[in-house]
């Protein structure tokens, strides 16, 4: 049988030990919370990086598309120009042969009409 003094001392020791255990538990939880925060922060950072990477890749893709389209347009314009110059040459070459006939029509319309 323990004396009251011994019981109180023992209780005090036990409570002290429990308090220490609780403090350690709190530290563990606090550590876990920090770790959790770090995990979330890391995820947020990854999110931003991912967004930047995807956007950058998309912009690069758009630049490539534009370059390709510009090239296509340039080629097409060059083709149109070539074609039109041939047509103009033909118009002038064939038309020139008929100018004298047209002159007759004009003169006749003026002096004969």
């Amino acid at each position: 049988m323990k004396t009251e003094f011994e019981v109180n001392a023992l209780v005090s020791d036990i409570l002290k030990a429990i308090r220490i255990a609780e403090e350690q538990a709190e530290k563990r939880i606090s550590l876990a919370e920090s770790e959790a925060k770090a995990i979330e922060n890391n995820a947020l950072l990854k999110r931003d990086t991912l967004m930047e990477e995807k956007v950058s890749a998309a912009e690069k893709r758009v630049q490539e598309i534009m370059k390709q389209v510009e090239k296509e347009v340039e080629e097409e314009i060059s083709r149109i120009k070539g074609e039109v110059e041939k047509e103009v040459e033909k118009i002038i070459s064939e038309g020139s042969k008929k100018v004298d006939e047209a002159v007759k029509v004009i003169v006749e319309s003026i002096v004969g009409g």
Binding site: E33, E35, I39, R47, I80, E101, V107
Partner: protein, 224 residues
């Protein structure tokens, strides 16, 4: 640890439970540690789930954003292509129109030269008389005067015969005199009433100007 728990501990010690205090303390500590560990695991697990959600959401958002950028880029590229090609086609049409216009203009220039040459030919007298007659008939006869370019009056020595034809056509007594006043024109004439109330301009230039639209159509039909 509240006072109730404290009392429970105390009672356990006083009643002399079989289990030694050290064992009981060990169990309590172990329980506290276990609970803390469990809670810590839950916190981390929750954070991992949240991180996974953030990542998945980020992938989805980033892909959506990237798709949108590419879609807009493609649309812009398509618009650019359409605009540039439309401009090029328009320029091509303009170039062809310009070439045709050049030929039409050339025909009119040559026609002017031809008309100049004509005024020096033997045909001109007849042409001039016809133009005077037409103008005089158009006015309806009467007392008329005719104006011609400088030097062209030499073709009009027999003006009375024109007056006679006009009288016959209009049934109106007609006299025509050649004015001393001259006109600035390649050829042709200007006929007016003596009182200057009516005139008809039958110079080559005026005839051409009056009929320019019709002439251009005719010329285009011949050339193209």
């Amino acid at each position: 640890m509240n006072t109730v728990e404290e009392e429970v501990i105390k009672e356990g010690i006083v009643e002399g439970e079989e289990e030694p205090e050290s064992e009981r303390l060990k169990k309590i500590k172990s329980k506290i540690e276990k609970d803390a560990e469990e809670r810590a695991k839950q916190i981390i697990e929750k954070a991992k789930i949240r991180a996974k959600e953030i990542e998945e959401e980020a992938i989805s958002k980033a892909e959506k954003r990237a798709d949108e950028i590419v879609r807009r880029g493609l649309e812009e590229a398509e618009r650019y292509k359409r605009r540039k090609l439309a401009e090029a086609k328009l320029r091509a049409r303009q170039r062809k129109t310009q070439a045709r216009e050049q030929l039409i203009e050339q025909a009119f220039q040559k026609a002017n030269e031809k008309l100049k040459e004509l005024t020096a030919s033997s045909e001109y007298k007849g042409i001039l008389e016809r133009l005077i007659q037409k103008a005089a008939i158009g006015i309806g006869g009467g007392e008329l005067e005719v104006l011609v370019p400088k030097g062209h009056e030499k073709h009009l020595k027999d003006i009375s015969s024109i007056a006679e034809k006009v009288r016959s056509e209009t049934k109106n007594p007609t006299s025509i005199i050649v004015s001393k006043e001259t006109i600035d024109a390649i050829g042709g004439c200007l006929v007016r009433k003596k009182d200057r109330s009516i005139f008809i301009d039958n110079t080559f230039e005026s005839i051409m100007e009056r009929n320019i639209k019709e002439l251009r159509v005719k010329v285009a039909k011949v050339i193209f």
